[in-house]
Amino acid sequence: MRRKDYFDAFFALLGSFLIIYIVLPIALTFTKQAEELNLFFETIQDAVVLDALKNSLLTSTATAIVSLFFGIPLGYVLARKEFKNKSLIQGIIDVPIVIPHSVVGIILLTTFPNKILDSYLGIVMAMLFVSSPFTINSARDGFLAVDDRLEQVARSLGATKLKTFLTISLPLALPSIFSGAIMTWARAMSEVGAILIIAYYPKTAQILVLEYFENFGLKASMPISVLLIAISLTLFAFLRWVVGRAKG
């Protein structure tokens, strides 16, 4: 063996630590649950659990749609226009990533005291705050990757700005935009901190896990955790596959 191979092997060894660290707890939880299948089946028939799950899926999907509606125009402007304080705007978009999510809950509740407490609107707003940067940034990157010569040619051939956007820029940036929206959706599905403060009810699955853990302990919160992982991962993988196919 040559020296270079040792180098590669060493890096692979170090690199696999994080992979194992992610996969191991998931696999372990699944295996443990498999030993108590009846408890799992009981849980997935529990109306409270199903209702919470429905709430989670609905609110995160709504969040992804809202983030697309506002994120696509913003991403386009960031990709195509130069203006004063552009880097400031870019910085603001990344702010949600650095604020602790409980704090996000506090500041949203401070801003909209009565409107959002314990409501679907509150859940979506909490999710949108923490997860929209994914859609905005990937929309911007998607549009940046579209050569502006294409738009110029389309315009010279008689297409208006709007028509050019709809027929050239948007279709070409769409795979990237959707990748971002999927991340937004996934991030919304996994949000707890802000929701905990703004909207304990309507009960979402991620809050229910916390409630079961606090009231009944680790074992009781496991089945619903497994269910959440399974659904999130399956949907995430499926959506990524769809977008990947569209790209290819």
Partner: protein
């Protein structure tokens, strides 16, 4: 048709200064200049991608200086070709007609018709990235011509093609021109494109249009030394006129044009030989350097204290067994000596 009147623009590291010229209907106008001269910026101003800082652009007498691109009735082919990658060739060509809301059947007929002429019928169902460079350029030309624009703008259309494809396209371009009778503004750094396609040419140096005229006229009579140098006059001498002769550093050459302060001779107009060539300007000199350019060899021949650059073919370079320091004769016709300021 197109009138550019004192247009000025600074954008990024490029600038254009008071450029004025006119393109007549049906004319093929070439803007010739080295890279960085501002040629692309000029096209972008005419296309409406940027707007000038000063000056006016008129089409058919109508001011279009600040109109958006879609209102100018012209087609733009950028150097990048810029075919829409997510559309098949058919939809690329049909794009301009679709924006005009023309009935589907009519679009189909027109696309088929133009694809036939440009010999791309077999490519209509393909995606652009599967095409060769020459095929892509044909599609871009079809896409530009199908909307019957008042003016077609071409930015270095043949720059990225290999020699054979390029010369074939140049030939066909002349045929298509007769067929479609379009008006073109074509910017390039290639003399070949200018000579084989252009009716008139404008030479652009450092953001200024320094000379405009019929192609042959401009190539033969550059207005000044800078233009002459750009147009390939590698031998430029300053001297004085004595009757029908021009004298520089003890060398007296016969000239035919109207005498001026400087003269220029192209390196390809100079014959190099080991025997005395039969021409009205013949000098004996010494080869002081040579440079292999592939098919041609550039010789530097010193006559008295005057250095001449001359091109000879690789074959004759080998036949004459040229070495540094070798004595040779150089000759050129008096009609190959051009005078300018």
């Amino acid at each position: 048709m197109l009138r550019v009147d004192g247009v000025t623009k600074t954008w990024k590291e490029f600038k254009i200064e008071k450029v004025s010229f006119e393109v007549k209907r049906g004319e093929y106008f070439i803007v010739l200049g080295p890279s960085g001269a501002g040629k692309t910026l000029l096209l972008e101003l005419i296309a409406g991608i940027h707007f000038p800082d000063g000056g006016r652009i008129l089409m058919d007498g109508r001011g279009v200086t600040h109109l958006p691109p879609e209102k100018r009735k012209l087609s733009y082919i950028p150097q990048e070709i810029a075919l829409f990658p997510h559309m098949k060739v058919y939809d690329n060509i049909a794009y301009g007609l679709k924006t005009k809301k023309i009935p589907k059947e009519e679009i189909k007929t027109k696309v088929k018709e133009i694809a036939e002429i440009l010999e791309i019928s077999h490519l209509l169902h393909r995606k652009p990235k599967t095409l060769s460079g020459g095929e892509q350029q044909r599609v871009a030309i079809a896409r530009a011509l199908i909307v019957e624009p008042n003016l077609i703008l071409l930015d270095e259309p043949f720059a990225n093609l290999d020699v054979h494809v390029k010369s074939k396209l140049l030939r066909e371009m002349r045929v298509w021109r007769k067929k479609f009778n379009f008006t073109a503004l074509h910017v390039t750094h290639s003399f070949e494109e200018a000579l084989s396609l252009g009716d008139r040419v404008g030479v652009m140096l450092n953001g200024k249009l320094v000379q405009t005229g019929e192609v042959k006229q401009v190539f033969m009579n550059p207005k000044n030394e800078k233009i002459a140098r750009f147009l390939g006059f590698e031998n430029i001498f300053e001297g004085c006129v004595r009757g029908d002769r021009f004298v520089v550093d003890g060398i007296s050459m016969k000239i035919t044009g109207k005498p001026k302060a400087k003269v220029g001779v192209r390196p390809d107009s100079i014959v190099v030989s080991t025997n005395i060539p039969d021409m009205d300007n013949v000098f004996r000199g010494r080869v002081i350097a040579f440079e292999d350019l592939g098919a041609l060899v550039r010789l530097t021949v010193k006559v008295n204290n005057v250095e001449f650059k001359a091109f000879i073919t690789h074959t004759s370079f080998l036949e004459m067994e040229i070495k540094e320091g070798q004595e040779v004769f150089i000759g050129f016709k008096s009609s190959s000596v051009y005078c300018f300021d």
